[in-house]
Symmetry: D3
Subunit: 163 residues, 6 copies
């Protein structure tokens, strides 16, 4: 079966939790596309260009993983790349309800596209992009939480701000 | 990719919510095995033989769906059939926490086997095997909730009891 | 408008939390029926006769409140008494999901009957029939938790058992 | 009994989920007032005038439903219209906790006013005003989600923005 | 044992729920430090100076309670004051998930510092700083919700705004 | 301060998650008592004698930890040992609601006794006594989940049953 899966998100920035899910997803489907949402309404810490760069750098070791950006409805992005499955991570009950709602909304838009949920390693269960940014801002330890390229950028930014 | 998925459960009895998930799963993976748990500790309404019969009858229209029973750890059943993925349905927050726990436990037993979660159609979100049995017992309307073969058996049983 | 509401439950035994809800419900609807479920499957501490007696005793001060028992689907009980509304209490998230499911199931059985949810006083938010029984068994303080007639019965039973 | 109920909200914009609840509420109480919150702190997509206009247009078919706006504490609005009951919809666990908190707060302000919770049709369980706005912005299908007058306004706005 | 505990928060403004927890915490540990977060990113209603003043005024009756402010990672504040325990209040499920995440994050930063959770009196379970501010803005009754010094300041501010 | 804490439970059997909490608790309080509930109503897998034996064996390395059993209300056990604090572990939302209820109930019985909640290591977040028993029954890997003395007993029992 030629199933292609899309893993969408803001990735502001990508964390080891995201990477863990990308690896898990790439084992299940022939082709995995990481789709970075531009989302011009929500304010992001990193620009869309920077977010895509960091994801590309982080997934370099994984073959069969592509990285794209999108500035439209997720479901239109899924169709554009002829994907059949949306992958979403689930960590907490609060994630769960929002994810369920979005999966139902997407199903209404196109019933042929399925959303599946996967669980990151329990060591990443506390991880989120916002936690990482908050820690980085005050010089907290983030090396176990993000890929090296992200850790460097974050430190660079906040050192400059503090310096 | 030759991914084989297992959809385990008690199926006491199979409902239209289960069937909906079986159909969704069978579209994503080359092979889908519905695995009926014998589970001698938990008390069941239907015997393992009856539960397997009803599932087999209900999935007849779907090609590439097999039905088996198991009386061991789920993870050992998964290995026996050389499956790579466990499929579980998610409807409610209470499901979610139990399912997350079981997925982590199974990952501890064998890290190469992945659990994915899928969502039934919103019209089945209220459905569960226990609701169906409770309704059937008092002559409630269950025809939209279970496959015809299950509806018949349930009515037969309770008519006999009442008759 | 001649709306009649039903407040169903096991009432094994009735607590001050139930009473609080009965009072609140009776202010909203012309007629309020407290319906005690016989439910021969679930094991009860008090018999259906005792449970009805205690509810009747406890609601004596409230006019326009009737007490009945039922041994059928809730929805059939609602129709029998020509009620239009089912009242249920909500205290915790775990209540909430089960209640939502049952409300959807009942709506499937008869779309003209509405379920509404009400909240007991926050001083009763911890209260449940099982907590009361557990406390009573070991001589804990239950006088603020149940009507006097229930407190007496519980003490009588456990004193006899201990004596 | 002359119970008057208030159904408050932002209605930014009104969805078919809101309408479903208005219809359900209007069957239970002699008089139902839909109260649109001005709320000058929260940023709204539509102005208070537009939000009230759309609600009025949408509830036209329902007799005994009035539409008002308010710019004060909800409880003061309830008193102003001599209402006795606040109606709130419940869809998800996250709704539930916030709603419980607000119901307790309102009870502290005036113990004679009761909050009741109702459940929309399960086909609207995924629906929210923000989902509708996000879909509309990118040309997603919203015709099943909002009354015609809302769909038109949203399309008009976003076509103009895109044109 | 010379355990020193820190109770961190925004306290914008301090409520009777916070005070209840401070009193409970001060009974368990030799020394309790209330740490007011400056948090320059999040917008606050009261300045850090005002928030500290109100907390100091409110805890005056409690000996062995100190008040400090911090503008760094919580864990660095804990180390600075040689505390061993972080105290957090738990009221609702939504609190719970965020708190669990933050406790795990803090444990990653320093495994020797423990987070414990305590529960306020059930009469404060609905209380939050935002509820108080919203009520105060429209002249709602807040005297049972905050210490007198906070009630005065809030009334002063909003009277001035309205006057 | 001479605070003595009680950590109550069924411990049927004790897991590494329990042990982790015992160690964390013993660092915070001068004296920690592990209290094994006899609870003659709930059916246990191991007898009260066996459960106490296993806990005693498991906590041998920790000084200042005592092990007792009790067959009364928890609050009476707390008073008997002149403890001031009840420690409970929190892993999931479902735990949380039950624990909150029990803490409120205990506070009603004796307001001077405080319940605090602690979080086990995230590596034990999936662990429960029932999971361990289910795995052991079918020969699953449990060595990372329970102390050696428990693993041995469980294997002994199930080998005998299977042999």
């Amino acid at each position: 079966m030629n199933i292609c899966a899309i893993y969408p998100g803001s990735f502001d920035p990508i964390t080891n939790g995201h990477l863990d899910l990308i690896l898990r997803g790439s084992k299940l489907f022939r082709r995995l596309i990481v789709a970075v949402a531009k989302n011009s309404i929500k304010r992001h810490f990193f620009s869309i260009v920077e977010r895509v760069e960091m994801v590309k750098e982080a997934v370099k070791p994984y073959t069969d993983v592509e990285v794209v950006s999108f500035d439209c409805l997720l479901i239109d992005c899924v169709k554009k790349y002829k994907a059949n499955v949306i992958i979403r991570g689930l960590r907490a009950v609060s994630d769960f309800e929002y994810e369920l709602q979005m999966a139902l909304v997407n199903r209404k838009q196109d019933a042929s596209i399925e959303t599946i949920f996967m669980m990151p390693d329990e060591n990443h269960i506390y991880l989120s992009s916002s936690v990482v940014k908050e820690l980085a801002q005050f010089g907290g330890a983030i090396d176990d939480m993000v890929p090296p390229c992200v850790a460097e950028r974050l430190k660079g930014l906040f050192d400059k701000a503090a310096g």
